[in-house]
Amino acid sequence: MTKIEVLGTGCAKCKRLFANVEQAVKDLGLPAKVVKVEDLDAIVESGVMMTPALFINGEIVAEGRVPDVNEIKSLLTE
């Protein structure tokens, strides 16, 4: 089970990233848990300075940008 976290306070970019992640997971048919982290304290705690950020299994893979569906797929299959 892959754990995917999308960190962001709810701005447009964060929503786009979340949608991309859901699409990638659906396309791959991956058993994954996608979590939205919108709480500011939790975002700060994780060390992220630019939102949105993407974590896969607790590891940061993108910060301050919105990777497209294909990039997320390749990140997930790595």
Binding site: K13, V44, S46, G47, M49, M50, T51, E63, R65
Partner: protein
């Protein structure tokens, strides 16, 4: 390069659309075709170059580089590093906390927070395409000076008590920085260039279309009395109008180009643009989460005064 573009614009206007040279519609169409292509090409190239630079400068690194610097040198460095760093108002809070929490002085943090949105590659590329390199340079240099001076003033005011208490208690994990290969950097530059150019293109097209209509139809001196160099009120009014307008620099600059051609003073136009991109209501609402109302007000007033002075200065020099 520009000659070929002009030939192409002429061909589209007079041959494809069959318009007659000299009529206002022909003038508008020609202007629209020429400007859209020129701005888009230049924007794509500059955003690509800045994207490459951006792979070397992450906020995590900036934080380490400026922590422990003294006033002056620290403010200059923070403002310079703010140029290639992209800014989204929703990142203002984690950025602010990350800086303050790792011991970056408040004034230096503000130099970065001001420079990052105020000086951005989209505005610089568009000024370069539509106003020439001198105005683009004036914009970057005055943006830097504002960020440095405003940061030093805020630092000197010793406003640490105006930062919300929880900020001081935050403990951020340090994220390890991955080293990228050159191929990854170039790929990043290309994807940034594609994403940003496509994102701002609709604004540019709308801006140029509005500009083209004004260009073709409005009398050539209709703004001289309201926004010309002889109306001292024009600058502060332009700055006040610019603050609530948010993130539409890409659409504003083509309109500015036409308005200056119709008599608006260049300093006034610059001050207006800086207010549009450098200070916005949503950003202030978000910053309110980490700083108290007094510091927020001081921040807004310092920027208002800086933009207005910049407008007067360049009206005096270039007007």
């Amino acid at each position: 390069m520009q000659d070929y573009l002009q030939l192409f614009a002429d061909w589209v206007t007079y041959t494809i659309f069959g318009l007659v040279q000299g009529n206002p519609l022909a003038s508008s169409v020609n202007f629209f075709v020429y400007d859209t292509i020129k701005v888009t090409l230049l924007l794509a190239v500059i955003v690509f170059a800045v994207g490459i630079v951006r792979t070397f400068i992450t906020p995590q690194k900036v934080k380490k580089w400026v922590a422990g610097r003294t006033e002056g040198a620290g403010n200059v460095l923070a403002a310079l590093l703010g140029i290639p760093t992209p800014f989204c108002s929703c990142s203002a809070v984690p950025l602010f906390i990350g800086f303050v929490e790792s011991g970056v002085p408040l004034g230096i943090t503000f130099s970065f927070l001001i420079a990052s949105p105020l000086i951005n590659e989209v505005a610089a590329a568009m000024l370069l395409a539509m106003f020439g390199w001198q105005i683009a340079l004036i914009y970057i240099v005055s943006g830097l000076v504002i960020a440095i001076v405003a940061g030093i003033i805020i630092g000197r005011l010793h406003m640490e008590g105006q930062v919300e208490d929880f900020v001081w208690k935050c403990r951020m994990h340090d994220q390890p920085d991955k080293t990228m290969t050159w191929k990854e950097r170039v790929d990043f530059g290309i994807s940034e260039s594609k994403a940003i150019t496509l994102k701002v293109l609709p604004y540019i097209i709308i801006g140029i279309a509005i500009g083209a209509v004004i260009h073709g139809y409005a009398p050539s001196d209709f703004l001289v009395t309201i926004a010309g160099p002889d109306n001292p009120l024009a600058v502060p009014v332009a700055v006040l109008l610019g603050i609530p307008l948010y993130s539409n620099a890409a659409g504003m600059i083509p309109i500015m180009e036409v308005l200056t051609a119709k008599g608006m003073a260049i300093g006034t136009a610059l001050a207006f643009m800086m207010a549009v991109i450098g200070l916005s209501l949503p950003e202030m609402v978000i910053l309110r989460k980490v700083i108290k109302i007094k510091l927020l007000a001081i921040f807004a007033v310092i920027l208002f005064v800086s933009f207005t002075l910049t407008g007067y200065l360049f009206n005096a020099i270039l007007g």
